[in-house]
Symmetry: C2
Subunit: 349 residues, 2 copies
């Protein structure tokens, strides 16, 4: 069975879930255009998740992908939080922010009993996870619904682990990909590699469909991924400036700038490495730093800085998530972006 | 004109020059099989270079590529050399090596007046450089011969620079590639990215042929690179175990092992970052370290350690150059490897 048939879509094309820069509107538009739209749940409260799911169900009956992070929330660590706030203190002073007034707290929710119960009410065709898979009992609840389970691998070893644990589709996440790296078996980033090397090795190692992700920006990229043995592709960055995305105006401007800075992997914004355009915070603290507390606790102390800087028209403290190939970014309806990408699939029939 | 026509080969396929693991034999075999064979000159004395060139000319009249490094030799730095020898002292003691008896000196030669004069006697179809291009007067001597000039770019900015300086063909070197990174405009490795993102952006930025390099191991990889807009491909790792390569038996065994370690970028072996399989030295000193002296001065103090360890059957101190996709490595005549790769080019005619 082709992956598109399995997914119930026109093409084996997944609009990558991108927490913080999209909601149901982009997912709906991608689904209607023939792709698998994705709703990222990591930054949604249970009620917001229910509302977004209701919006999708009211708009389309097409299959969609519901995405969760499945990290474990770390214990609060007062010393780590104090270290992080001390590192940010000069910036807080610069913007007149009272650090005492900033609440600590996680910036991302993991998949849990409460969200599993919500999933059971909507029965999405696909449920995807980032950072591995949830604990077996929770995963079993998802699989019992008949949902296809997807997760990202950054190495062949992670791909094998996901397949052994029951993932139906594995996403080979090349080092080019924007946003959070999905690694979960090893913290060492040096074992991760570009899609050209990762994808064919994951395809060879597994007996199930592999989605290619990272650096795919247009029909040529889709064709190349399919030539390397992918069953389909997952594309994020090309949708960041879509009309239906909620990407803010400063982030959009940065993505579309002719002289945009390069990207780098940084753990400053959440505590885990993620790829984004280099900005002031990354330059001044170093993009990969021992200063932030454990994921996802880094976000809280940055939130008022980000808000104050953005109000002044600056992206100095904003996560500007972006893959290494932003040439597909354009301000257009998501349907146009889907159709452009879909030209890269081999002709059917 | 197609790139194969320009190169005078059957396919737009370049056997990557790999100093230290190949000489004229692999270049000749690749040329005879219809690819552009390459002779790496970086580790050859002028006389050895003359001998290798004579061997090629005696064996084939087909076009070939003569490759040089074009670094500037650093001033000797006694403090840096002492620091490096202190870091290696425990290993020297372990192997009973007298550090006083180790001569210092460069491990790689740059292109210079003497080698330029040798090039003028052989007039190769292609001359390629690594680490940018030589000074304008030397480059002009090469171009005056009618040779096609190639060099590697690790970023779009480097690709534009090479084209502006007169490179006829630019190699987009994805982060997956084995051996030395070719960067020359910026030392910061974080701006470099995988081939999937780099290649289409370099193709779009230039008005001349772009070769794809990094992670291409088989016909599927060739087809994918061509789909992304490459005019041809350069492949190294897949030739490392070819019958005609001079890769040592321990290096070959490591490349073909089912449980090979991952690769990493390391500057320990020469002073510049290069990709190879992780081994003891990389694990114990950290693959990217402030300890080694400037390129190419790191090699000297390691040479007797490497020799002693290899004599004992160990690769603890050997550079095990390897790209991120070693699935194409096999012990076969180079012609077989060329023909397998060539199946990935679009059918002609």
């Amino acid at each position: 069975m082709s992956l598109a048939t399995l997914l119930g879509t026109e093409w084996p094309l997944v609009q990558a879930p991108m927490a913080g820069v999209q909601g149901s509107a982009l997912a709906i538009a991608a689904c209607r255009a023939g792709a698998l739209g994705s709703l990222p749940a990591a930054m949604l409260s249970p009620q917001a998740l229910r509302d977004e799911l209701a919006a999708i169900r009211a708009a389309t009956e097409r299959p969609f992908n519901l995405n969760f992070f499945c990290h474990r929330l770390p214990a609060t660590d007062a010393a780590a939080e104090a270290r992080w706030r001390a590192a940010l203190a000069p910036y807080h002073r610069e913007y007149g922010i009272d650090p005492q007034a900033i609440p600590a707290g996680p910036g991302r929710r993991p998949f849990d009993e409460e969200t599993a119960a919500i999933v059971e009410t909507v029965r999405p065709r696909v449920v995807s996870f980032h950072f591995g898979l949830p604990p077996p009992a929770l995963l079993q609840r998802v699989k019992a619904l008949g949902a296809l389970v997807m997760s990202s691998a950054t190495t062949v070893a992670e791909a094998r682990w996901l397949a052994a644990q029951g993932a139906d589709i594995v996403i080979a996440q090349g080092l080019e990909a924007g946003g959070h790296r999905g690694h979960f078996l090893a913290e060492d980033l040096s074992g991760q590699c570009g899609l050209f090397a990762l994808l064919p090795q994951v395809v060879r190692a597994l007996d199930r469909p592999v989605l290619a992700a990272g650096g795919i920006a247009d029909a040529r990229g889709v064709a190349a991924a399919m030539a390397l043995g992918a069953a389909g592709v997952q594309v994020g960055t090309a949708f960041l400036c879509a009309a239906e995305a909620t990407t803010g105006p400063l982030h959009r401007r940065a993505l579309l700038a002719a002289d945009a800075p390069p990207t780098a992997l940084t753990n400053l914004f959440t505590g885990r490495p993620a790829r984004g355009l280099v900005n002031r915070l990354m330059r001044e603290l170093g993009p990969l730093s021992a200063l932030p507390p454990a994921f996802p606790l880094a976000t809280a102390a940055l939130a008022p800085l980000r808000a104050a800087a953005e109000a002044a028209g600056r992206t100095d403290f904003s996560p500007l998530w972006c893959g290494d190939n932003r040439s597909g970014c354009r301000e257009a309806p998501a349907a146009e972006i889907v159709h452009e990408l879909a030209r890269g699939f081999p002709a059917r029939g």
